[in-house]
């Protein structure tokens, strides 16, 4: 008995040894550490989402920065949009988000509430971050309750993307200040003449409904709540569903089938509402020519548009706030950076960068001309507040709107569902 016990103990020791060895093996690959080293060099983690062109451009700008600030090293982390936020959520909960990262308006309050975002005002006061020369007041997009928690890198606005060939063939034209009635009449003509739908499903897009509400003196959000009533939304979705049934809006089943391609580039419909800086995808996907058209209005003048932004934010717990601020300042102001980035993240936010970059390709020129036209028309308003939970509500709006389109949910029930999901999202 005694010997067998000994062996048991030895077995356990062996097992422990094996595990320890395994851990050691793993640990040899470890060479992390985000902090400074002996010679005063500081390493910052910088994370963003986006496709390959953005990543390659950002890497070039990082190289420029490191040349100018040899004591600061930037460690890039990048992935696609969904993976980025999934990862960010865990890292933020675990107290280990990147020092600097790409951010969007819809996430500001969410992470501000959890204390993840640094108020960059103090760094601006200390002279490490320049808050001058932002165009069209976009700097305000990064402000929440008097704190500057995001620095815009670009500006974009909702737009109507149209199939230029289809519009021409049907003999209809998109004009500045056209009304919703005129817009739907134009779609009707397209449907009659070309036998395709007019739109791909406008009524599931939260940001478009926001514009419609703004045209009518409301907005999608107040600072803490939804800015419309259940009846408003029921009406919006009832009208939408009517247009699906009449064929003015494309069959949602077909739209689903061609995904991930857009219904517009698949030729199922002649127009689609989206952010203007997303419009590059249509040329890449579709056979026709595409262009940006004005948002329809209610009163013949107000489109309800505003400039949204991608921005850069910093982690409140970073060990190197000064270097983070210097990095952000360089990235948003340096003209060379503007030349490299172009309009990938929206029209460049500062005058230094905007003046430095001259768009050469048709798509960038189109986007620039569009935003200039919108700005000239004087329709740009103050941005709608984006309370914590905006990202969840946007997804719910798209999903529930899709159920309405397929006739699976009655508009009134759908509106009720959205209100209850919104309540949960605000609380979360």
């Amino acid at each position: 008995m005694g010997t067998s016990r000994n062996v048991e103990r030895r077995t356990i020791l062996k097992a422990a040894g094996a595990s320890a060895a395994a851990l050691g093996l793993g640990a040899t690959t470890a060479c992390g550490g985000d902090s400074g080293s002996g010679d005063g060099t500081v390493t910052l983690r910088y994370a963003w989402w986006g496709g390959e062109p953005r990543t390659i451009a950002i890497k070039k700008t990082i190289a420029l920065f490191e040349k100018k600030y040899p004591k600061i090293k930037i460690k890039p982390e990048f992935t696609d949009y969904e993976a980025f936020w999934e990862k960010f959520q865990t890292q933020a909960s675990g107290g280990n988000p990147p020092d600097v990262f790409q951010n969007a308006v819809g996430f500001l309050r969410k992470y501000d509430k959890r204390g993840v975002l640094m108020d960059l005002k103090s760094q601006a006061d200390a002279g490490n971050l320049d808050l001058e020369n932002f165009r069209n007041g976009v700097l305000a997009n990064g402000q929440v309750d008097g704190k500057q928690i995001g620095i815009p890198v670009g500006a974009n606005t909702m737009a109507l993307v149209i199939d230029l060939k289809a519009f021409e063939k049907a003999g209809v034209e998109a004009k500045f200040g056209w009304t919703w009635d005129e817009y739907f009449d134009a779609l009707q003509t397209i449907q009659d003449k070309l036998k395709i739908a007019g739109d791909t499903g406008y009524f599931s897009i939260m940001y478009l409904y926001d514009l419609y509400l703004r045209q009518n003196g409301k907005a999608f959000f107040t600072d803490t709540d939804l800015g419309f009533t259940e009846d408003d939304l029921t009406q919006w979705w009832e009208d939408g569903y009517k247009r699906v049934r009449s064929g003015l809006v494309a069959d949602p089943k077909k739209i689903e089938q061609v995904k991930p391609k857009s219904g517009l580039s698949a030729g199922l419909a002649a127009s689609e509402f989206t952010w203007d800086n997303f419009s590059i995808r249509y040329e890449g996907e579709g056979e026709s020519d595409y262009g940006l058209a004005p948002i329809p209005t209610t009163d013949g003048k107000q489109t309800g548009q505003y400039l949204g932004s991608l921005m850069m934010s910093a982690f409140s717990g970073t060990k190197h706030p000064k270097e983070v601020a210097q990095f952000i300042s360089f990235m948003v102001h340096d003209p060379e950076v503007g030349k490299i980035m172009g309009y990938d993240r929206g029209i460049l936010a500062t005058t230094e960068q905007y003046d430095a970059f001259k768009p050469a390709d048709a798509n960038n020129k189109g986007v620039a001309a569009y935003e200039e036209e919108v700005a000239k028309a004087g329709v740009l308003g103050k941005i709608t507040p984006h309370p914590s939970g905006t990202d969840v509500i946007e997804a719910a709006f798209l999903r529930i709107g899709g159920e309405v389109a397929q006739g699976r949910t009655k508009p009134a029930d759908a509106a009720k569902a959205l209100f209850s999901e919104a309540k949960a999202a605000f609380a979360g």
């Binding site: 077995t11 470890a30 986006g50 460690k75 698949a266």
Partner: protein, 291 residues
């Protein structure tokens, strides 16, 4: 007698043959349905990127190599081979860890009587009921405090500590089925537990070990959440993370290279399975009988 039976036999044969033909046709039809997605992926990998989401054809009208040759350029400045190397390291370490630690634990549960064995076994099985997402953040905080994020350690440490309860359970059940007489014979020959484990239990449990190894390899190879949370430096990304980099929600996704890469990513999994599945059958048939 014979003249009476032969026509009956004839029709019976005939019936059997039509039955067999119907069976084969049915099986082939089912096979076609099951294989369709695979064939679609293979076909799509030879289509120009734009056609992949545009055309419904199963096979490309004009096959192109661009998707595969494009992989050689890497993505966003990272070579594709680094994704594969990282995945391979992760999968191999996971397999080694699971096979060693789970079998040792299983031996203890199956062959050694000790106080609290049943309670511990129940607790271990109980961990199967814990959802992954409950563990995610505490585990993350733990490894962050150990400063082990952005390494493979958080991904494989658990595998070396027999935390994969399912595989432990599988091996326990298998080892319980091994004849006791073999252990007793070993004991008479002077073997301790370690020797019995290494020379008797382990070789005889080969089918269970192989099964665990195959599943662990596939799980690690396909794991997305773990690498996503723990690995920060793109040079350390695994294949599953690398695949995501071809997507671009705001611009033009590179579907061609994405599909080509997912096809290439299948190769190691299939190779691993092919290499080990014959041991699986071989082992089942002879376990406990070989000298």
């Amino acid at each position: 007698m014979t003249s009476a039976t032969s026509p009956a036999l004839h029709t019976a044969n005939e019936r059997r043959r039509t039955g067999s033909i119907a069976w084969h046709v049915g099986a082939l039809a089912l096979l076609a349905v099951v294989l369709y997605p695979v064939i679609w992926v293979v076909g799509a990998s030879f289509k120009p990127s734009k056609d992949i989401i545009a055309s419904l054809d199963l096979l490309p009208t004009k096959p192109v190599w661009a998707n595969f040759s494009g992989l050689a350029d890497g993505i966003s400045g990272i070579s594709i081979s680094s994704f594969f190397w990282n995945s391979l390291m992760y999968a191999v370490l996971a397999v080694v860890g699971v096979v060693l630690s789970s079998s040792l634990t299983a031996y203890a549960f199956a062959k050694i009587r000790f106080a609290g064995r049943n309670l511990l076994f129940t607790l271990m099985i109980g961990t199967l009921l814990l959802p992954y997402h409950v563990l995610l953040i505490p585990q993350y905080v733990l490894f962050r405090n150990l400063e082990l994020t952005d390494t493979l350690v958080p991904l494989v440490a658990g595998k070396f500590l027999a935390t994969e309860a399912f595989f432990v359970f599988l091996m326990v059940q298998f080892m319980r089925g091994l004849p006791r007489e073999l252990d007793e014979a070993a004991k008479l020959d002077g073997c301790g537990h370690l020797r019995t484990y290494w020379s008797i239990a382990l070789p005889l449990s080969r089918p269970a070990l192989i099964t665990s190894a195959i599943f662990t390899f596939i799980n690690a190879w396909n794991d997305f959440m773990g690498p996503l949370i723990y690995l920060n430096t793109p040079d350390k990304y695994t294949v599953s993370l690398g695949l995501m980099m071809f997507r671009d929600q705001e611009g033009i996704s590179n579907y061609g290279s994405m599909i080509a890469m997912s096809l290439v990513a299948l190769v190691p999994v299939i190779a691993f399975f092919m290499a080990f599945q014959r041991y699986l059958i071989d082992g089942m048939a002879t376990s406990g009988l070989k000298g």
